[in-house]
Symmetry: C2
Subunit: 233 residues, 2 copies
């Protein structure tokens, strides 16, 4: 069975967390809006579903259509050995995944603190204030938490890679792109997270993916955006 | 077994979504910070856990400690007949629960668009802009979606009550408290959601809970806050 991933075709965004899981698993999938027929067709599929999503990404897996990034990752994790099997481990993995989702939403709001219906330029002043708070308080709060969970273990859940590690990798990638100055200052305090990022990047399937054209470069339409005024030296 | 719920003792907040599920299920639970020993002890428990939460609420269920509101509800839903049993239904229920969680985060940011480390008065101007956008665009977008899912079915997932219905009830309650003027204008467009809210309120366990002292009144420390300047007539 070939998965069908539905997500905006020109950005990494939330879809990237799903792409990384599919790539690590070596799963057969088509990135529908990129490979086949674009955004308009994706939205038509979305609206025709009996379990419609509020927004992309969503994944078709045979008869199932699954929305919400963390929900998709829970599903893929169970299918592809990227999550624990026992209940306690599954719940813990998903709890961490949801905490990453919260962080990602906060990243988005650094450039859109007022609303998604307004352009960045219409909320730049507010974005500067929010980004300053995000760098000073929120990144450290999340990173302290994740660094504490990871500790001396090899991966976030212990000895085996999971979707959580792939998502931590993507968060580090994204924050380095969006806030390079802040990350230069912050990273020395989080050696375990830095090491985890490096380890994920070297996994054969991930390394091949990152070097491929399937990996869309970061840009200023996605969640992680580089606006120099939000990341002072 | 008696559940232990850990949440801030003076607000409904995200903990209320868990309380409603426990109450509907008739489950035995203690609201630890309220009944036993306050916030400081709660935070000590949080930090001592092997699966620590980023923030309350978290739930202790025997050997398990579970964080993230939607994750807790997925667990309780499966245990207490408040979620479908089959995989497709479970994923769909959780997808809706996560979409409600996204809405709740946006409600929070109407009064804290810049950061949680600042007081409301320090971001009131930005809050006015964000609340205006939230009322004009975001409530309708979410409500259109949920109204479409609910349609002519009795409950969000079909013929049986689930945690999703309890959470929709709480969102309606909260939005009526925080934005009474906006809701007066909006509600006529969402008759199914209004009817669902009324139906949930009449369920015996929920009605008893709402009339009890266990239900903390809304206030301006929680997620749903009534600031008249954010809800013009």
């Amino acid at each position: 069975m070939e998965y069908e991933l539905f997500y905006w075709p020109t950005i990494q965004g939330r879809g990237e967390f799903v792409r990384l899981a599919l790539e690590e698993a070596g799963a057969a999938y088509v990135d529908v809006a990129r490979k086949r027929n674009g955004t308009a067709a994706m939205m038509a599929v979305l609206e025709a579903e009996t379990t419609p999503s509020f927004a992309p990404p969503f994944l078709k897996a045979g008869q199932l259509t699954i929305g919400q990034t963390a929900n998709i990752l829970m599903f893929l994790g169970a299918r592809h050995g990227l999550a624990p099997r026992a209940e306690a481990g599954r719940l813990w993995a998903h709890q961490l995944q949801l905490t990453i989702a919260d962080l990602v939403s906060e990243v988005h709001d650094t450039h859109h603190p007022i609303g998604t219906t307004l352009y960045y330029d219409e909320q730049k002043k507010e974005a500067k204030r929010r980004a300053k708070d995000f760098i000073a308080h929120r990144i450290p709060k999340y990173f302290n938490y994740f660094e504490g969970v990871l500790g001396a273990r090899g991966f976030m859940l212990g000895s085996r890679l999971s979707t959580v590690d792939l998502s931590i990798f993507q968060v580090m990638e994204g924050l380095r792109y969006a806030f390079p100055n802040a990350m230069l200052r912050l990273e020395p305090h989080y050696p375990a997270l830095v090491a985890l990022h490096a380890k994920v990047a070297l996994r054969p399937n991930i390394a091949a993916y990152l070097a491929s054209k399937r990996r869309i470069p970061f840009n200023e339409n996605g969640i992680f955006r580089r606006y120099p005024e939000l990341d002072p030296a």
